[in-house]
Symmetry: C2
Subunit: 339 residues, 2 copies
DNA sequence: TTGAAAGCGCTAACAT
DNA sequence: ATGTTAGCGCTTTCAA
């Protein structure tokens, strides 16, 4: 069943059918109806490859997500898929490990799949203009922005929270609750990524609160794996370090931390408070529920897709959207009464 | 940069380039090397659309996942993506709500994307041969099989656990621990899907253990949403129903249940034991950790992709693989000492 | 408003 | 072992 068959069936030319298919203006209503009916009657579905070939682009937008075991990104991907679909595009998803280069992956995908644009999830903050020349389609960074790189602001779009400030907020929340010895659980303080930024925010907030940074209270796991986080926090406890609160840079790390604390006989929040940043649905059901700064995942996804489609359709230009988190108070933080 | 450019660059014909691109035998090693070098030097990437057009198929396999907020499926998708990619195919992912029809979605996707095959995740168990005629490519059902339908066994492949038996195993585990009043938390007892089967297994096991089924102990949530599960279990408790253990048909429902129990002042596992089926990584870090029957997610994904690619490449035929779960004993089940 | 025809980049006969 | 060539299904000038 091809455009030819429909044309023959209706006694018109293929161009006319093509015009109807593509909503071109110059078709008489009568012919348009005729063709549309034929299309429905024959269950005709256009061949996307042929379309892509001739117009030298597809209807595909790429989503490159870095960080395999990150439930927060999974939730983003769900909304992304729905939004992309609802706007008439197709999502080509590639999930890569944290060690992989998302730009290279995207560049390959762009050529292979004739992508119209790409949305990056959980990438590095240090792209260079040079390296981004591999990509010839517009892209938007979702969950991060180019703080450590040299990209001109009008060369890309981004949707993110202010990781540094939000981490600071979390620290201040703990301080407001009377905590002074605050540990931090992160993947890597120099990953040019979210971890580094939230760690900076942590240190900065400590300084602003006139608290000294103690390297002994920083647990570095290397990645976002829960077992590494668990082990790290166990080691922290075993080291005899003194702390009454812990900031985890992600919900899943926080959940692992709470288990480590509990297994070592420390009660959360009585003996140690825990706060995180992300806002997974699941962490609202753990015992105790996690106090966390929720990223507006659905809004971020929606906004990213809107930006990208505007860019693709030429109706918008590069923008940078900073979102706010919402504090979800759970049961994992307690006020430190006695000092 | 097309195949023509490479051909001209090397002073050979396009067919020769095409041959080395497709690993055809009849090319002299010298020419092959020459072409390969040119390809690398020019950063040439074949146009997938053109390939798909001429060979009337793409390199895409579809993954249709039903059930949006199911973390277990998310973990499957990750492995699926990796496996599909590593075998030289591309994953086209579509996630649809539980209410949607996965077969219709797949049929549309097949035509649009020229799929070579599709992997269904979390679908219904009651496909009819009639309805499956919409699909003209091989498919494998992952996490379920066609128990309630009329598909001939050699018309499709499946990779699943024996949901009924596994639910029975869970019940017997509780019974072995002294429990007699066992509640069940499920989405829908007549969804022609995993919920129904596990519920059947629950009832069957009760019968085998000479325990009576009490409808008052069945909490039906309607879907896999955690808030509905939470509310349902709260209502169960408030109803004054007497039970010492609960079987949740998924880990995420179990986690919501544990919170409901805890919030109502019941200790897990002292006052109520909880067991589930799935085996999320996260549920191994909750407090208490969840006792659950782990599905071998990675193996299931790998096996599904292997089956499908064999089907696509004509080197295998339809098979049905039944996997075993592994009991992961957590802290959510206690032995009931006093009866 | 409509149709004819020229490709888009590639593969696979068929020739050589 | 290599080249020639006819399409795959569609969009898009260009003419009518």
């Amino acid at each position: 069943m091809t455009i030819k068959d429909i044309a023959a069936y209706c006694g018109v030319s293929t161009s006319t059918v093509s015009r109807v298919l593509n909503d071109h203006p110059d078709v008489s209503p009568a012919v348009r109806d005729l063709v549309n009916q034929a299309i429905r009657a024959c269950h005709y579905v256009p061949n996307n490859s042929a379309r892509a070939l001739v117009s030298s682009h597809s209807t595909a937008v790429g989503v490159v997500s870095r960080g395999l075991d990150n439930p927060f990104l999974s939730s983003l991907i769900r909304v992304l898929g729905r939004e992309i679909h609802s706007r008439g595009y197709t999502m080509v998803l590639q999930q890569i490990p944290t060690q992989a280069d998302e730009v290279k992956a995207a560049a390959l995908l762009e050529r292979e799949k004739k992508l119209l644009g790409v949305i990056f999830l959980g990438g590095r903050f240090n792209y260079t203009a040079e390296e981004l020349r591999q990509l010839t389609v517009p892209f938007v960074c979702c969950t991060y922005t180019n703080i450590f790189g040299d990209l001109p602001r009008d060369a890309y779009s981004s949707v993110s929270i202010h990781d540094q400030n939000e981490a600071g907020k979390a620290v201040r929340y703990l301080v407001d609750h009377g905590h002074r010895r605050i540990a931090v659980l992160l993947d890597d303080p120099a990953d040019n990524s979210i971890g580094q930024l939230r760690f900076q925010g942590y240190r900065q907030a400590l300084a602003q609160c006139a608290l000294e940074y103690d390297p002994a209270l920083a647990v570095v796991t290397g990645d976002y794996a829960m077992n590494a986080a668990y082990d790290g926090v166990c080691r922290l406890i075993d080291s005899g370090a003194v702390f009454t609160a812990l900031l985890a840079i992600s919900d899943s790390l926080a959940i692992a931390a709470i288990k480590a604390l509990t297994d070592r006989g420390l009660r959360v929040p009585e003996d140690c408070s825990v706060i995180a940043i992300d806002g997974l649905e699941l962490s609202g059901y753990t015992v105790p529920t996690l106090t966390t700064l929720c990223q507006p995942a659905a809004d971020m996804a929606r906004e990213s897709v809107m930006m990208l489609t505007e860019l693709i359709e030429g109706t918008g230009s590069h923008r940078h959207r900073l979102m706010d988190t919402t504090l979800r108070e759970g049961g994992s933080v307690a006020r430190l009464e006695s000092v």
